[in-house]
Amino acid sequence: MSLEIEQEIRDNILCIRLSGELDHHSAEDLKNRASTAIVKHNIRHIILNLEELSFMDSSGLGVVMGRYKQIKQNHGEMIVCAISPPVKRLFEMSGLLKIVKLELSEENALQKLGVA
């Protein structure tokens, strides 16, 4: 089982939906696709939907931190949706939980950003 990445752009918001397993093997692809979209579409905020993500390790933390640094330059926000308890623990250990916002769904996240 590998990682499926779906990206949707709405104004200056990039919505990334992940399904499958995010590890060192699949992290590179996510990094490339997301960072390309951020630059190309002048993205300010990211909504990361983890509803269908079944596994993540520190390689995932690395890519998430990397994208956060990218949008931070434009004073953007990162909102993570549908985080599972084990992934939440990883976010907590690494300090990511303090810098991203958590929401239950994409709709809530869009509302938070003043869209929808």
């Binding site: 060192h24 992290a27 596994f55 390790d57 520190s58 690395g62 890519v63 931190m65 084990p86 690494s94």
Partner: protein, 146 residues
């Protein structure tokens, strides 16, 4: 009764998920909780990834060796590589410490291992390789014993 499984494979990133699944399948006979299984899979992923990217610096000629031993409700993992080794183990264990920030590593691997397992031992010699030993007591089977 002690039960042992050994595995050896090329240091290729596509083998990371294989390693997680193989170890999880072997441990399944102890009837672990979902959380325990996730924790062990995450830890296997951390150690194997470290051997591939740090130990062998992505040289696929390298081999990663895993040995899993289960006894009653105790799981013992030994993961070994014959790579470059760790210069300073105490420094490497610090949260957020990484020698490869350019590769977007978060430096959380050892912290995750320490959080998800009960015991960890790191033996590493530069130029020879690294052996990581991890131990975890599963709770559910514990309850059965009492």
């Amino acid at each position: 009764m002690k039960n042992v499984m050994n595995l050896q494979f090329s240091a290729l990133s596509q083998n990371e998920s294989f390693a997680r699944v193989a170890v999880a399948a072997f441990i399944a006979q102890l009837d672990p909780t979902m959380d325990e299984l996730t924790e062990i899979k995450t830890v296997v992923s951390e150690v194997v990834t470290n051997s591939i990217i740090h130990g062998y610096e992505n040289d696929p000629e390298g081999m990663v060796y895993i040995s899993v031993s289960i006894d009653d409700s105790t799981v013992e993992l030994t993961i070994r590589d014959e790579g470059v080794g760790i210069l300073d183990v105490e420094e490497a264990r610090q949260p957020l410490f990484t020698t490869k920030p350019d590769l977007e590593r978060s430096g959380m691997g050892f912290t995750i291992m320490e959080n998800f397992m009960d015991e960890i031992s790191i033996i590493s010699h530069t130029g020879e390789g690294t052996i990581i030993r991890l131990k975890k007591q599963l709770t559910k089977s514990n309850a059965f014993c009492n």
